[in-house]
Symmetry: C2
Subunit: 92 residues, 2 copies
DNA sequence: TTTATATATTTAAATATTTCGATACATTTT
DNA sequence: AAAATGTATCGAAATATTTAAATATATAAA
């Protein structure tokens, strides 16, 4: 992973609401719908939508349209690549 | 590490200049002075200072005053804790 | 096919971040 | 003690991010 990508992911993770969203996806066992987040976050629907867009744009969260819902899952592979980037920042 | 701390670190890493600074500290073998960064970054001195403050506030970078210079090193321990936090976001 | 539900987009305001010039402070050198 | 050097702070402008109201779109249910 290059620095630009790591920067984007860091930025995506650098917000309290988005961290809660990610933890919620993780907690739910994975597949989670947009509306599930309404219950956890004290935000208007467009705000949640904005955060979801940010997370899916970086691909750290993957979205799949399912009927009129959207199903979200964590991109474990990309998370691993991000972790590897961070490990490289330490001594070899 | 709690989410609040992880958020701060993510935010600190979510900037191209700060990532360059961190990579530069890493590249240099570790101890690096503030003025070393002038050569790498196209930023005014107060801007660099601002970024260094942000990085040291989160403790991801450690500063030690040495004469009229400041010596910077990476906090590998905290980086590890951050990595552990990220690992917990994945499936157990 | 009208109505209801879930999500997305647009627009605008509030807030936060980034940047730099001016200046201050601390230490070292002369 | 004065000058030089390295870093920090203040204040302000430019830019980016976060938020929500209004509205749009897409699918499902009635």
């Amino acid at each position: 992973m290059n620095a630009k990508k790591a920067e984007k992911i860091s930025k995506a993770l650098g917000d309290p609401n988005r961290l809660i969203i990610i933890q919620e996806i993780r907690k739910k066992g994975d597949p989670l719908y947009c509306c599930d987040i309404d219950n956890v976050l004290n935000l208007a629907q467009p705000s949640i939508c904005h955060h979801m867009k940010l997370l899916t744009d970086t691909e750290i969260v993957i979205s799949e349209k399912q009927g009129r819902n959207v199903r979200y899952t964590l991109n474990d592979k990309l998370l691993d690549e991000y972790i590897d980037f961070l490990k490289c920042l330490k001594k070899d």
